[in-house]
Point group: D2
């Protein structure tokens, strides 16, 4: 029996991680075929990754048929799982998403604020096309989306493509679980966190260790010891004792952008002035990673990959595919339709939620009404996400503008226009939907 | 480490089943102490059951300390689980719940219609007192309620007692899963059903066998082969092909009361005229059961118990206690707070729902909006249940009257008064809350 | 400036009332043109009514250009208001709606139960076609629908036609206000009632006389004096003291079908056996009315019209048109989109609600959550109405079946099929949408 | 028949306006008694105002019995209307509300941001005490609250006092209607605006002139002519064309704080550095006003009062009292319980909404779901208001902190603590509820 995984954006420097994840789970998730897909511009990287992946499979002695191609439609034939990890416009585009807002005194970040909005604008049309292809060519396949902004992209696909087998994943809940285990000095597999909210805006509400509620222990440690909780790729300013005690929640690192805006901005502007954008730093990192990857002796995922910040992203994806395949009914934190799990949010909203993973998809576990302290900002973020999705589809200038002005990191009616015009100009090549009906006179 | 189970209504003829269930699971659920509790009037039966249970434990060679008592508060000391299976007023009260409505041309049934309402009126105050005791004496204990009407009683406890560790169970979902397995000729453990609705008003929405959707197969078989789906204790008229195809849902046997009212009534009236009420039939059954139980040779649950209709009720309860104890995170169908799992119903409503069973309680799995075909009647039944609970607490005559008149099996403004007055009179001894502010002049 | 009213179903015996209403309001609602429209089968009656209407206008010395035609599209040119009062299939169809259910032991009534469902099935497609024409020919015109079941029909038009200027009216709230005034011995214009619910399922929640709350006074009188509250065309069995006191609401006469089902059925079956259906009684009434109308001396609405039961229907419609025209901002009870006025019901549901009447349509006044006692049955009725509308549009047999079985006056899975098959057969000519995909094999 | 109005905060410089409003409406709102109430600290001003008011009543030749007192309970005897216009801590407190945030780089404003939060903290306990007195002494009296933050204060009273006859008013909707009339060059009484949102966060959704929709005309004028729309007391930076066109809504002047934060802050900081706080400016204004008021020749409201910014506030209050008294059923924009009028917001939330004014209170007109563009921020503001109310009642430090950090004008976890500690210290005398359980260690 065949089991085929297609990796869209196969030339990504993260691919070795997903290959490793598949190899490691081969007993329960017996993949027989992997196809790496990329676009013309990524051809060279695809070759490098493809060859490394081949060496990894060989070393592991797994009977997996691994290949790579630029022909996406061909690759999708008979696929069972399609994972997506693309970056429309590459790091050059990310550099603009970071630089332009920063240069006007706004947060410039890959998945939040103006940068995140434009990443969504560029990505959604491309992935909608993919979803349409999947629906036609391999309608039973699951799309596992880890392209950022993962929650927004997943909601856009579920709302605007006919393909409904789409799940979004992120490494943030995974990281929070692991950091919490570290703080408590227990094994990650013994820790369970009740998450509420959305991708990159998720909170931990309860922490259980082997079924015992240890939420207060974790909060106390965080409040008093100022522990590091951030992944490699974003700032870590820590949280004040008062904030932790008053909210009674585990914040995720991205919340710093919203509740420490000024401090983060100061730090980011300084870093930008000293080292350029994070995109530029990553570019160097990537270059050295690919130098490593080229080494024909290398036949496993190199340690250096973890410093990229996206570590464990593909591990999360592999776990998910494994449970879908095996109808495992274990609990994982994924991005899927709300359907009432958070009654304060619309039923048709993608949330990041603990879900039972079955062969027929994730079934979100009801988490009850949101805590009063954060329900307002969570609802607003969701409403903002809807505006981003609408503008991504319509390409309407006013729609894009309202998404900008209603983002808490912008929230400036004149600044929104400045950023919007400059970013539309900068990303012009990747925003076909904005070409007509775009810029207001 | 001690693990103590207290069985309220320990003199019930069902108790051997729960004892058997505990013995069978002793490896994973190592109960060290069982106390059977009953009231003065049930003393004799308690002795018989107690002795049988002792013989069962001995035969099984488990180190369980089993005892019985009339002192409930003493029994609750250090309890971990408290199961409730009581019948306020005994079978004599049930006989009235059945006879009085039937004699006026209304459905007379133990848990539905006027009879079910009065069972709730009698039961809720008694179990509220128990819940208060539990909260004071053993606040960490779970109450596993399988006293009917199980959903209404559970909602009443969760809304009106301080004790929030209360879960209701019923054997109907269990039976539906087993019948479905039989129909499909597969093992019950390979069948999963997505349930929606409330206790005794639950529908099956999807049937999965080893993760494959086989809903249509089951519906087709039910529509064409007219299979028996009912437990021993209620009528089985079967469902018409059109009803099954048009709703696309698995109905439960109790739905016959609502969608085949006239036919059921005809059959029940005839049975009543020929054999008296179901209560009287059960009384005979019980008498012969206790005759068996007395036999000092008997040291296991006798086969005859299954014909009582409540078969597997306690099996369901034991499974649940086992998973709570072990933080199993498996999925069971229980009665617990909605919290958005069915967004059409209030958050603070008890529903019967597939839930992940953790050490810290059941976490309902979101099932999305109700199907359009049944959302109206489900919502109405829930609103009716709220009226029953309110009247159970207030003892207000008008509250009781509105519960009667808004029940679809009564729905008669003059008949409601006749039934209400006659039932209040008949059950007078068990309805202290109605003594003042009761009967309208 | 022209002001044109088109009356669809102009040959109706009710038309003189609407003509009288327009004449009476001519100072503030200066209609310049009235066109009566009917179909070929109603040609003769249209002539009679047309001539009577002409004589009425002449007597009143109003400069209104009145004409009649079978050409609907022509008539709609430049229309400002389009009123609809049609009966698809005529009284012969109504006779079947009444007779067939009664002959199987179910309520047989024009606008409730199986009869009401089939009236909706016949009417909705015809009025959707009208609404489409209006939208194309005179898009600024208001459709004032008083074709029954008025609430369901209005919801169907608002949901399934592009024309959104549709308002439903009924005389029941008007009658309740007048009866209440009579009971209290005050002027109707001094009485205000807060209504909640839907057409033919509306309750009065509060009664104010000149701003003073007199709800209790009215309820007490109703409870103790057993006053007559019904219009001419439906039964009047009165309400029991207990029902009135326990609900604390003013029921409308149609509620008798739901809360006195057995008694109403007995009475209706008896009346049916003695005098045939209500349709046949009405047929005789109509014949004598038209005999009166033919009299060339008659130049005003004859008193006899009021005994038809629909009295004041057109008065309500004229009041509404007057306020729409004048942007009056007075309060009238109409059938319009909920939009949150009753938060328990869907936003996109037509309710019967006190509304501020402005030039741009009715603005429903928020009435807050439904009373606990009736929220269940009201929600269920609304869910049932949605099923009726769906089946009216799809013509799907299973959709029609679920509407039948979920109606509280049927609620019988086998009976539903019997009634459905017989009524589909009987009304075959008027149900084009059921011709394909109709009857299940 | 007596009709008594009690003015709490009668020594306010605004009082002459309300006196004038009562005199002007005396034919339809025949007030027979007015009592001005103030506290010891305001005794001198109360005398001045009292004497001026007496001269005004005499000049108008109305038989109104006018007096003033420091004995609030005595004054409330037999009151029909109680208006509240108090400033706990006086302008000195306001000065701190403005200065402290500004000095840390945050918006410092009377009713928004940190200043508004502390005004709520000081005001709510005082007005709750008043509401309790009213409920006891004159339970049928309406409280007309125009003490800011009017929406939050009104919600606090309706949620936490037994007195439910409380309505909040503000001059912003009045001003927006008048400015719109000016822009369109029509009479204010011909203009109607559909408002959505909350006090000081209200938007105009539709503008009707004599029933015709002129929303686009108004938006176009605002977008192209940059008209002044602000009251005297807050900044006016105008709105960009893009913002107006993209939202399609009439913003109110306070929205500048949220969508032009940086620009407003720059301007306010500059003004603060040049002229001190707005409180200090107002202090001078007040001093000159009272100088005028002392003049025994003055017997009418002086023109100069209008420059205070609160102009028309009391006109709005008088209109409302007049309609309540007369059961007018006209439409006014007031702060009252939502009850579903905006289905996106909780039923138990005070909103600023067009309502039908009846003798038994305002009945909000349903305005349907919020526009997608602003629903997020409106919901968030409402959730924030709930946090403010909770902290006002509990006096809990963490509650106060979360209200600060969740306010979009603060949204800074470290800044929130700085502001909170400094403001708690500064207002210590007026925050008895924070004395225990206050400051975190």
């Amino acid at each position: 029996m065949s089991l085929k995984v297609v990796i869209i954006g196969g030339g990504s420097s993260y691919t070795p991680e997903i290959i490793e994840g598949i190899i490691r789970r081969h007993d329960t998730f017996p993949v027989s075929e992997i196809v790496l897909v990329d676009i013309e511009a990524g051809k060279e990287k695809l070759e490098i990754i493809g060859n490394l992946a081949l060496r990894m499979v060989e070393k592991a002695k797994k009977s997996i048929n691994l290949s790579w191609t630029l022909d996406r439609k061909e690759a999708l034939q008979h696929a069972d799982f399609v994972s997506t990890q693309i970056r429309v416009g590459g790091l050059a585009a990310r550099e603009k998403d970071e630089r332009i807002p920063l240069s006007h005194g706004f947060i410039g970040q890959e998945t939040n604020g103006a940068g995140g909005i434009f990443k969504a604008f560029r990505t959604i049309p491309v992935l909608l096309e993919l979803a349409n292809d999947v629906h036609e060519i391999c309608p039973d396949a699951w799309i596992i989306n880890f392209t950022n902004p993962a929650g927004i992209v997943t909601e856009a696909l579920l709302k605007h493509s006919p393909h409904q087998k789409v799940i979004g994943v992120c490494n943030i809940p995974f990281n929070m679980r692991h950091s919490t285990a570290e703080i408590l000095n227990v094994r990650p597999e013994d820790v369970k966190i009740e998450f509420i909210g959305m991708n990159h805006f998720v909170f931990g509400k309860k922490v259980y260790v082997n079924g015992e509620d240890q939420t207060q222990e974790v909060l106390t440690k965080l409040a008093n010891e100022g522990l590091d909780y951030s992944p490699a790729n974003i700032v870590n300013l820590g949280w004040s004792k008062t904030f932790i005690e008053a909210t009674g929640l585990l914040s995720n690192p991205y919340h710093q952008y919203y509740f420490q805006t000024k401090d983060v901005l100061d730090k980011d502007v300084k870093a930008f002035e000293e080292n350029g954008t994070r995109a530029e730093v990553v570019q160097q990192l990537e270059t050295s990673l690919f130098d490593l990857y080229k080494n024909p002796e290398l036949n496993e995922k190199p340690k250096e990959l973890e410093s990229r910040g996206g570590a464990f992203y593909s591990d999360v994806a592999c776990s998910l595919m494994n449970s879908l395949y095996n109808d495992s009914e274990d609990i994982q934190t994924v991005n899927t339709m709300n359907n009432g799990a958070i009654p304060d949010l619309p039923d048709h909203a993608v949330i990041e939620v603990n879900s039972v993973i079955t062969k027929h998809g994730p079934r979100p576990i009801s988490s009850g009404p949101l805590p009063d302290t954060v329900k307002g900002i969570i609802y607003q973020m969701k409403a903002f996400e809807e505006l981003v999705i609408r503008a991504s589809i319509t390409g309407n200038y006013h729609d894009a503008y309202t998404a900008m002005v209603m983002n808490p990191l912008i929230a400036d009616e004149r600044g929104s226009k400045v950023l919007l015009d400059e970013l539309l100009e900068a990303h012009n090549n990747y925003l076909p939907q904005f070409n007509t009906g775009g810029k207001a006179e």
